[in-house]
């Protein structure tokens, strides 16, 4: 077993895990943060997206042990003090989710995208989010929600 | 008397007849009568059949009345995704 101390959504967390256990399994099974989902376990769907030191990654392709001393961000940390992030608001307003299982991954990835590129083109959004699979929406409403959130965030 | 149109497996079970006339006032009577007339139909009807009366499809509705002179078609029971 490995003992790991890390920060998750700003809070210091210490956990123990198997050396081959993924960060996704640690988050879900040990820390009860089930917002990140396992859709494939092989980095092909993005449902388990989290940020690691501000960069979006698939938590199924990160070992729990690697989180030592790092900053982890999950969907549970996007709303602050009960207030939804503009992306969360626009996802609801634009009906950008149907089943909602890919939504946490999309929100984490879209937030990271907008932090690096506050005014993305449609193509930049589509390519930037190509690692997040959605099977319900055909992406149309997701892209529109991200565009609207970006506009709202630029206005401040 | 009700004129019933058959297709698919039911037509085969009725010895190739595409249309039958049976005495029935509702769907239950119709299905019972058909199974009596053509015992080969019985397992198919039990497995599930839908009945269209004047274009309206009923999947299960034994006591749905069949108006005189209406058009009746028996179909396989359908499922969706």
């Amino acid at each position: 077993m490995v003992r790991v101390t890390t920060r998750i959504n700003g809070d210091e967390v210490t956990f123990v895990c198997e050396p081959d256990e993924t960060l996704l399994d640690v988050l879900r099974d040990r820390l009860n943060l089930t917002g990140a989902k396992e859709g494939c376990g092989t980095g092909d769907c993005g449902a388990c997206s989290v940020t690691l030191d501000g960069r979006v990654v698939c938590s199924c392709l990160v070992l729990g042990a690697e989180a030592e001393g790092r900053q982890v961000g999950t969907v549970e940390g996007i709303a602050r003090n009960g207030k939804l992030h503009p992306l969360q608001e626009k996802f609801l307003e634009f009906a950008a989710l149907q089943c909602g299982v890919c939504t946490p991954g999309f929100l984490v990835a879209a937030k990271a995208l907008l932090e690096r590129n506050p005014d993305p083109t449609e193509a930049e959004i589509r390519f930037g989010l190509a690692g997040n699979l959605c099977r319900c929406t055909g992406y149309d409403k997701i892209v529109r929600a991200v565009q609207a959130a970006a506009a709202a965030m630029r206005k401040g | 008397m009700v004129r019933v149109k058959l297709s698919g497996p039911l037509k085969v079970a009725a010895g190739g007849e595409a249309e039958l006339e049976v005495e029935a006032a509702n769907i239950h009577q119709l299905l019972t009568r058909l199974a009596e007339l053509h015992p080969k139909m019985k397992p198919m009807l039990e497995r599930g059949a839908a009945v269209a009366i004047d274009g309206q499809i009923y999947r299960d509705d034994w006591f749905r009345a069949i108006p005189e002179g209406s058009e009746v078609v028996i179909l396989p029971r359908m499922v969706g995704g």
Binding site: G41, G43, G46, L63, E66, L113, F127, G128, A130, N132 | -
Partner: protein
């Protein structure tokens, strides 16, 4: 299984060379963790090299670059100097997987995974890149094309790991490019990949060229005939066609779920030609 995150190269080499059974280097982990999950590899020891100083850095060196083995594709893509000097290499690295994979995957990992379809490898070979290999017997510098020897197999010896990738100084009037064919627009493994780098003299005549193809043989191959078809020409339509034909002729691909032999042979030429056209534009400073 044991997980270790040494902070020095020496420490890493010692771990890898130890009697730990099967040891694997963990850089980005985007191949290794998938292989572990699908039971293709069950290491006894994982050596995470991301805490080694120097492994996470890109350094400008003698006009070229030294890219630490744990530098991610995203970090490479954000490096202005690399983007300007070797856009083909950067583009190839940034084609691997998704934004999420980009945040982790490394050039060194892509190379050492030794897939014939690795996107960054044809671009690195075309760029004339080399790797610094470090092991129990010290350091050696090896051209990129000598690392993979077959699907999943490298020339690295027990206890050795790649420490850095070296990109040479870009000669004046040079350009590089990488293109691949995938059925979707993202997220697929290359069905065919083509990397081209070329240099023009002052008259616009091609004085040097390197061409490499991915997913058309048991490993990424360099195609000297295609290079020869460009050198000494103005990289006009005719030269490009001859280069494309040489590329197709050099292919020895397999039929698999991702593409047929026939398709790969044909498209290898098409992509090499298109990549050369982009490299030419870049060499002309456009």
């Amino acid at each position: 299984m044991r997980y270790e995150a040494p902070t020095t190269v020496k420490g890493a080499v010692k771990l890898l060379a130890g009697k730990a059974g099967l040891a694997r280097v963990l850089a980005g982990g985007t191949d290794l963790l998938v292989q572990m999950r699908t039971d293709r590899v069950a290491p006894d020891l994982i050596v995470d090299v991301k805490r080694i100083a120097g492994m996470r850095r890109i350094e400008a060196k003698a006009g070229g670059f030294r890219i630490g083995a744990a530098v991610s594709g995203a970090e490479l893509g954000e490096h202005k100097g690399m983007r300007k000097a070797w856009p083909g290499v950067v583009e190839a690295a940034c084609l691997i997987g998704s934004t999420q994979v980009q945040g982790r995957a490394t050039l060194a990992g892509n190379l050492c995974n030794a897939s014939p379809a690795a996107d960054s490898v044809p671009a690195l070979i075309a760029a004339g890149a080399a790797v610094v290999v470090v092991g129990p017997r010290g350091r050696r510098t090896v051209p990129v094309e000598q690392i993979p020897v077959g699907p999943g197999r490298t020339s690295l010896k027990r206890g050795e790991l790649v420490e850095a990738i070296l990109l040479p100084k870009r000669p004046p009037r040079s350009g590089d490019a990488y293109l691949r064919f995938i059925p979707r627009s993202e997220m697929d493994i290359a069905v065919v990949g083509a990397g081209v780098s070329l240099t023009l003299d002052r008259q616009g005549v091609c004085s040097a060229a390197r061409v490499a193809l991915g997913a058309v043989a048991e490993r990424v191959i360099r195609v000297p005939e295609a290079e020869a078809a460009l050198i000494g020409t103005k990289v006009d339509g005719e030269a490009l066609e001859r280069m494309a034909a040489s590329c197709s002729a050099a292919c020895r691909p397999i039929d698999d779920k991702r593409g047929t032999r026939e398709f790969r042979i044909k498209v290898a030429g098409v992509l090499a030609r298109r990549a050369a056209a982009i490299a030419l534009k870049r060499a002309r400073g456009k």
